[in-house]
């Protein structure tokens, strides 16, 4: 395949390594013409722009269509911007309890991610710093969890949640979400924690620090990027989760955003612009976070998964 020629020239690579954010200082174009250097990678560039088109066209279509009124949707060219843009579709979505679904999603996400981070961090600390058969076994259990499609367990989880009288509550979504976030969180956190130099722990130990104190005063600051990464990754997963809400909740008062998109689509199936406006509105909060904090977000995720 010709696109294997997407290897960047070495000068570019050096800057990529020295600067994890991936920003250059214009070195490549200078080096590219020198003797023995590689030619600019036109094929790679072409592939890059092609993939951009594949990513952008659906997003463009969704945004443009959400601004059309229904008559405009049926008569105008689907890929053209509306002649008379309208926000009526957004108003319709907001009038249909969008704020409540948003709030539910927020409660479930924060309620799952914060406890998951807390227990996973403590477990990762014990696994990395501690010894013994129990901790080895615990770690192996979590590693096993990475290999198993945990969603296969929805039926017993449904049974447990109904027996605990938690069906159709937000807590029903929070509890399994915490459990499902633990394996990957422990794995990433413990990978990072292993890089904290042992001498730092030793010297704190000599100063008479307990493990509890070392965990919060040494391990946490030293692994903060990993904690942020794991937090973001889990938050995305819970915020966008669909299966647990589908089987563990029922009434509109416990509905979360992804499920609300689906039910909204069922109710307003003929009003495509309104359905797509709901898609835009549900994505907008994450998009705002992405625009503000994309550097931390991407470099954190990159570091977390390539370890």
């Amino acid at each position: 395949m010709a696109s294997t020629t997407q290897i960047p020239a070495p000068p570019a690579r050096r800057t990529a390594l020295s600067n994890k954010q991936g920003h250059n200082h214009g070195q490549r174009s200078k080096g590219a013409k020198g003797p023995g250097r590689l030619r600019p990678n036109y094929l790679g560039g072409l592939g890059g722009w092609l993939w951009l088109a594949i990513i952008i066209v659906p997003i463009y279509y969704v945004v443009v269509t959400s601004l059309k009124n229904q008559a405009g949707f049926f008569t105008s060219n689907p890929m053209m911007p509306p002649t008379e843009p309208t926000l009526d579709n957004y108003k319709l979505v907001l009038d249909n309890d969008f704020a409540m679904y948003f709030f539910n999603s927020l409660v479930v996400t924060v309620g799952s991610v914060v406890p998951a981070l807390l227990v996973s961090f403590m477990a990762a600390y014990a696994i990395v710093r501690g010894k013994g058969r129990f901790l080895t076994w615990t770690n192996n259990t979590f590693l096993l969890g990475l290999a198993i499609p945990l969603h296969a367990t929805i039926i017993p989880i449904y049974w447990m949640i109904t027996k605990a009288h938690l069906y159709d509550t937000l807590l029903a979504l929070i509890l399994p979400s915490i459990a499902f976030a633990i394996p990957i969180s422990v794995l990433i956190l413990s990978n990072f924690m292993r890089d904290v130099p042992n001498e730092l722990f030793e010297s704190m130990r000599l100063d008479g620090c307990s493990d509890w104190a070392m965990m919060w005063r040494l391990a946490l600051p030293m692994t903060r990027p990993a904690v942020v990464t794991v937090g973001i990754y889990n938050a995305l997963g819970v915020w966008n989760g669909f299966l647990f809400p589908l089987i563990l909740t029922q009434s509109p008062s416990t509905r979360v955003l992804p499920l609300s998109l689906w039910t909204f689509q069922g109710e307003f199936s003929v009003n495509i612009p309104a359905v797509l406006a709901s898609v835009v509105l549900a994505t907008l909060p994450l998009l705002v976070i992405y625009v503000v904090a994309r550097r931390q977000l991407l470099s954190g995720l990159t570091a977390g998964f390539s370890k």
Binding site: P10, M79, T138, I155
Partner: protein, 300 residues
């Protein structure tokens, strides 16, 4: 008594107490491991989801294993797993290499590449349902008749539509993994190759690919095991149809349990899902050698 205090003191000297791992372990045992055994137990029962659970021997298994829909679901799952791997793995690898370079335009493109990471599967599926509409979607919009097909209603095409949409949603995540992997390759390797006169293609096969071995294993494992969890996207996009043509195993499990109210049969399907996932993960780890996993376990 004295021996136990002695050993606990030794544990204190050697590191933190295992109790710190207990909260995570309890959560995980309660909501993942116990349900794992629960699904096995429930596969030997009869339950409609509301009433009593009754032991029922092997009848759920007989139902599931003789039902042609199960075989079809396995076949559909295998096809989607295969095609989505074949499509996603090379694209994410190449995009990861592409975006790891430092040109400004590539960094700018990368910011846009990762936008699909933010969307929920439900949102992606709903967007594509509208986009693929033969009358009001992409086809008439671009004036390209071959794009104006009944993509989701044609049982020959729909599988590839699902593979495409899955790739659209998940390639960004794997691109990110590869991007991080490429950035960890020492620059000196490329400099040496450059001096030896290796071209771009040679460098890719001689340095980039071998150096990315563990990244490839990680990404492939997530991709293959992850394809057993493509539930929400397909559920909203096609609901398994038309007919049974996109009825994946997880979707088949859901529909059997929560729509046909046969939790016993659905549990048997769940067991099959777990066994397949476990076998695939072990196979992939075996293919990649044991080094990485062993070092993770040693650290414990």
């Amino acid at each position: 008594m004295s021996t136990s205090t002695g050993s606990s003191r030794r544990v204190l000297e050697r590191g933190p107490s295992g109790w710190l791992a207990a909260p995570a372990l309890v959560f995980f045992l309660l909501f993942a491991i116990i349900p794992l055994f629960g699904v096995l137990f429930l596969s030997f029962t009869k339950w409609d989801g509301l009433g009593e659970i009754k032991l029922d021997g092997l009848s759920s298994w007989t139902t599931v294993l003789t039902d042609p829909v199960t075989g079809n679901a396995l076949w559909v799952t295998a096809k989607i797993m295969f095609f989505s791997f074949i499509v996603q793995a090379p694209i994410s690898l190449l995009l990861g290499v592409f975006t790891s370079a430092s040109q400004k335009y590539r960094a700018a493109l990368a910011v846009l590449y990762f936008v699909p990471l933010l969307l929920s599967s439900a949102a992606v599926a709903i967007a594509y349902k509208a986009l693929l509409d033969p009358n009001f979607g992409l086809g008439p919009g671009l004036g390209l008749p071959f794009l104006a097909q009944d993509w989701l209603g044609n049982s020959d095409l729909v599988l590839f539509v699902v593979v495409f949409v899955i790739a659209w949603q998940f390639v960004p995540f794997h691109t990110l993994i590869y991007q991080g992997g490429v950035r960890q390759i020492p620059a000196s390797l490329y400099e040496a190759a450059q001096i030896d006169g290796a071209g771009r293609v040679q460098q890719f096969f001689a340095i980039t690919l071998p150096q990315l071995k563990y990244t490839i294993i990680t990404s492939s494992t997530l991709m293959v095991v992850g394809s057993l969890a493509y539930f929400d996207l397909v559920f909203v996009l096609t609901a398994g149809g038309p007919g049974y043509s996109t009825r994946l195993l997880p979707l088949h499990m859901y529909l059997t349990g929560f729509k046909a109210n046969d939790m016993g049969a659905a549990s048997a399907l769940g067991v099959i899902l777990v066994v397949i996932g476990l076998a695939l993960a072990l196979l992939l780890q075996r293919l990649g050698g044991k080094n990485r996993n062993a070092s993770q376990l040693e650290g414990a």
